[in-house]
Symmetry: C2
Subunit: 357 residues, 2 copies
């Protein structure tokens, strides 16, 4: 029943898990409403409690007109283990939204619910692309040069071998080409030093292989944690444990420094005056590094795209996740990743020969 | 020949690797000179090139009086592998400084040189404490509540099992008691979720064991990357790979955000005016989170203390590393860690019994 999204014709349709996330269903429905102001051609399938949705849809006129409501009272809980969710939540809003993509009714699913459950269900129902061992969670992050960087895996796979990391690199390359518009993204592997002899064996092996194969990116070796956001890389590849720690450490450091700065400013009357002058620039800055703009992590390596919104997303933030989903469908990310993996698998012997080995 | 630092009598003596670090020897010598302004009772052994030192010592009157120069023209290079440094740099300034501690001539060594070489040499020459399998690199980091947090391992051990992590927790507890002055530090293990079922097996096993044993801290379970700096923990335990990535990610995020902020302010005349008003508060803030203040990572688990300064340390920063070393000697960190490990090893059956198992 699994259909390649790129083969679906008809209007662009996104399936939404309306019950997932801290601020659901309001954040989900108002997010979709906001998207419809800019994109009248998108349709939505809304999975969740009909009565709960009905009340909110009164405030979302565009969405009420452009959406089909699919009722279910079942939902995935935050504390559900992935295995339990997979077995016991087959009628949940999350699972039904995923099924709609598997059945070809929609081209992408967006959920702000339980990450582990979403990944397990999506992998099971949407299936991985041929040649892909494990899907990975990828996201864009801001960089100091005003661009952005694609980082993966952000938590889908705690243990990764070299082959997994190489596949992440190939998938991340496609994603960076689409999101950053770069012809040959600069691909790096996260490590604790630039030297070849440092880090886990899997990381060193992956680097060796990435030097040998031909793909649509340029492999630039290892990168350390302090250069993730400097604009030195377009793709940062890492295992899901390290990636998740790094992602959350970036979020936490940004928030902590902001808090320390606010405390320092609050204690000084002069500084408060200064802030009034600096306000427009500060708001501009805030917009630039606003995590809301970077909401929408993508599960790469599935036969159809699946987008994970941050659990704490509000409507603005959720709208960004939907827009990420639209872009993935329109840019045929699934088909392009399949091609890149195919290419990576076949190009290898030639590349090795070319290197005179 | 290895002597417990706590048994050494006579003046407090620190051995310095004068040739290690990006700004050596000036940063090292001026750092020591700065310390002597506050602490006239400290003595130094200076290992490095006599001629190079002589020129700089003319500007460091106090140090010239309070130090013995030990000449060597050999030094550890940044690109030396640990194994090579261990074998081939036996006459280097780093190794001789470490030997001075092993021989009881000094109570602590400080170096801003090659981290891998320093760890290998220190482990070999100073030996680990009884019961300690692997030493760990620990450091203080700033928190939003104005306190600080001890994080380890920051890169000494790429692969760690549960037992290693438990020992890091015990060592980190002692270090936090000394540095933060807390009777019962709150100890956490870095993971990608608060739930018991997430993360590497080693991490989950370590948590189970830390719940069972009695020690001088309170085990508070898992912590995620976004809460390292929030003041929710006094000790964050992790393997050296993840710890190093997290540490550098914190440094990099802080630097990147600072750069983005400066760019935003520079583009706005109003904001520039604002900065003038806010300057005192901003300088105060800078001082609070200044990485220089947090310089000086400690190798915990050795029979004598060894402090690693950041390679890019200037004189101010290096002075902080020396002061960290002095504190470690005066607070008998080595003896106290030995006691805690001993206690952890013996207290376990009792604790298990008390829990009714």
């Amino acid at each position: 029943m699994t259909t390649d999204a790129s083969s679906v014709t008809g209007p662009l349709t996104i399936a939404l898990d309306v019950m997932g996330g801290d601020h659901a269903p309001v954040s989900v429905l108002r997010g979709a409403e906001a998207v419809l102001k800019r994109r009248q051609d998108v349709q939505f399938l809304l999975f969740g409690d009909e009565a709960v949705m009905a009340a909110e849809l009164k405030h979302c006129k565009r969405l009420a007109a452009a959406a089909q409501v699919r009722h279910t009272s079942e939902r995935v809980l935050n504390e559900d283990k992935p295995s339990v969710a997979l077995r016991a939540r087959r009628g949940s809003s999350m699972r039904l939204a995923i099924n709609a993509v598997a059945d070809g009714e929609a081209q992408c699913v967006v959920s702000a619910g339980n990450t582990g459950a979403l990944m397990a269900m999506a992998k099971f129902a949407l299936k991985t692309l041929p040649g892909i061992e494990r899907p990975a969670l990828a996201s864009m992050m801001p960089t100091t040069d005003g661009g952005g960087v694609v980082m993966l895996d952000l938590g889908a796979n705690v243990e990764c071998d070299a082959e997994n990391l190489v596949q992440f690199a190939l998938m991340g390359t496609v994603y960076a080409r689409i999101l950053l518009g770069k012809q040959r993204p600069r691909v790096t592997v996260l490590n604790i030093g630039a030297e070849e002899l440092k880090g886990h064996e899997s990381v060193r092996e992956a680097a060796t292989r990435l030097r040998q194969i031909e793909f649509h990116g340029t492999f630039e070796g290892f990168i350390e944690g302090d250069r993730i956001m400097t604009g030195d890389a377009d793709v940062v590849v890492t295992d899901g444990f390290t990636g998740n720690v790094a992602l959350k450490t970036i979020e936490g450091t940004a928030r902590s420094l902001g808090k320390i700065a606010v405390t320092a400013v609050k204690r000084s009357i002069l500084a408060k005056i200064g802030v009034v002058f600096a306000l427009p620039a500060l708001l501009e800055l805030r917009k630039k590094v606003d995590p809301k703009r970077y909401n929408g992590a993508m599960m790469l390596g599935l036969r159809s795209p699946c987008v994970k919104s941050h659990g704490s997303a509000d409507a603005v933030s959720f709208a960004h996740a939907i827009e990420a989903a639209i872009k993935l469908v329109e840019e045929n990310v699934t088909r392009r990743i399949a091609e890149e993996i195919q290419r990576g698998a076949t190009a290898e012997p030639a590349a090795v020969n070319a290197a005179g080995l």
